[in-house]
Amino acid sequence: MDTFALLLQGLAVAAQPINLLYALIGVTLGTAVGVLPGIGPATTVALLLPVTYKLDPAGSLIMFAGIYYGGMYGGSTTSILLNTPGESASIVTALEGNKMAKAGRGGPALATAAIGSFVAGLIATIALAFLAPWVVKLALAFGPREYFALMVLAFVTVSAAFGDSALRGLTSLFVGLTLGIVGIDLQTGQARLNFGVPDLLDGIEITTLAVAMFAIGETLYVAAQGKRAPETVEPVRGSLWMSARDWARSWKPWLRGTVIGFPIGAMPAGGAEIGTFFSYATEKKLSKHPEEFGKGAIEGVAGPEAANNASAAGTLVPLLTLGLPTSATAAIMLAGFQQYGLQPGPLLFTSNPQLVWGLIASLLIANFMLLVLNLPLIGLWVRLLTIPKPWLYAGILLFATLGTIGANPSLVELGMLLVFGLMGFGMRVFGFPIAPVVVGLILGPMAEQQLRRALAISQGDVMVLVASPISATLLAIAAVALILPLVLRAMGRGRILSEVATDND
């Protein structure tokens, strides 16, 4: 069956009233958490995992994907009106968007962000639908060694290739890999790193780690900053509508942002924020009004906002086709699949096409919902920004602990939440990125399994890892991605890399 027929079939699944409802809940929650500082899509999906345990898999996954997309839309609102990015993929938006809002052009800034997100989300989701079957065909030829090489590449790009320090990225990654060892070894049944605590035999829950590191770590960090930098919400003055000139200046950046963002998300190259920086740099270079950059150029909002939504869709390509998460949110969505006993990968496309194509199709629908939520209803979201900080963070901690208690009401689990929360706080203070820890925890055990399988087949011969052209190429790219940034930084060219720092989500 060709992609078109499959997509139509998916639309039939996605258009079922119950799935529409899940999508609506997802995009609404996603927009809310995107708007709120201190809580991002990764945390929200992690919080919801235990709650959705008893629900229908397709519906929950549609909801999670809606949260991911919604987070990308909502983040721009905070960036533009508050100058504090709601999530990391919207940092660049704050550069020009907040300047526009201060100049009384907040309306057009919000509009170009929302419409750009819509255009990019639509094109990128269709690209996802057409690219996925190809990757699936390719992935069928993958054996354990190819998967291992692919995961090594993901490790490198998530931790060391971008960001301002390979040292800190790799440290975060290895802390995550260490946490991944905890529990029973699947092949020999021996307990590793559990120190006699029975609660640790099942390993460390990815949801506990993510909630602790993102929600609790961030709360402690914000609390420790005290009352620095009073925040002011820029009111949306004037019309929400873009003038003809705004449209003329926006449509090309939207398309360019999509073209930049999608491949970066689709390659195992880390989160959505990287594409936004490239898009911003491109728009600045191509603009006919370079003098406006830094003072509120609409291109600087349109491009990056399109790029981050396109990246979010791109991230779903390796997640669905290879089971390979390349961002914190994708890592937790993978945990979501596993919760229902589903393993994303080429087999899922044949064993469960209804679910996969329903999910992809629901993203198209979610995009339309998000456009409505984010343009006419923008005033509602702005209100969220006026919740006083004490109540906001008290509420975040309430829900953070609720998810953990609901998943496993044990004191050990709550203790881990506190310990990892303090660790997340410490890592923020020292400038260690958080996402590599989460990705390391979920991908580490998978990589170990593939490596041991590959070596068992070859009877311990390590050379087998580079004996296939695919795995040799992937490992070579990983080596370049690890070494090249080190050389660039040593030569004093590291500035551009630190600008594309991978942070949350």
Binding site: K54, V175, L177, R192, A223, A224, Q225, L417, F425, R452
Partner: protein, 181 residues
């Protein structure tokens, strides 16, 4: 990002806190290696057993620890702002209180205390008001997630009251068809 002027200024003293990170990494490496050393080999294909990857990770952690020592002497870590310990202690205290209380008082009271202490840590709020609203919100959350979505959330006096109250309200509706039979 530290301003360039700060970086070029010569500082001979190492970054002590960063050295502490290096010590922590070394300790973690030793722990992982020690744990791996007591594992048995994995049967026939003993070359790659359950201890292979832990050893590899321990070696990498050790190397990263040495790298961190160099970074500490070269002041490669970003400049850290002064951290305010007060609010952090309030929130950590709240989390500890929740852990200590939850088995005895149930979800609502324990989480209400967490809510109040977090709010107090984040700004000037009246503690009794925060506690009251925290307990009320937590009780509502318990009812929705514990009863309706069937999560297992620990119950205490407030939760029992809630359940009894709910049954009292529902009772007449339930009794009516039952009584008619």
């Amino acid at each position: 990002m530290a301003p360039g002027a700060m970086r070029t200024r010569e500082r001979r003293r190492p970054d002590w806190a960063a050295l502490l990170v290096a010590v922590g990494l070394l300790g973690l490496a030793a722990l992982v290696a020690w744990d791996a050393s007591r594992l048995g080999a994995g049967g026939a294909y003993a070359r790659v057993g359950p201890q292979t990857i832990p050893y590899a990770i321990a070696i990498c952690l050790g190397s990263l620890s040495i790298w961190t020592v160099f970074a500490a002497y070269r002041h490669d870590f970003p400049k850290r702002d002064q951290q305010d310990p007060g609010p952090v202690l309030w929130i950590v205290g709240g989390l500890l209180a929740q852990i200590a209380l939850i088995k005895f008082t149930g979800f609502s009271i324990a989480t209400g205390v967490l809510f109040a202490m977090t709010a107090r840590g984040m700004g000037r709020v009246s503690l009794p008001l925060a506690l009251l609203s925290g307990i009320l919100i937590s009780a509502a959350v318990w009812f929705v997630f514990g009863r309706l979505l069937q999560l297992t959330l620990p119950a205490g006096p407030i939760e029992h009251l809630l359940v009894q109250g709910a049954e009292l309200i529902v009772a007449p509706f339930k009794a009516a068809p039952g009584g008619a039979v």
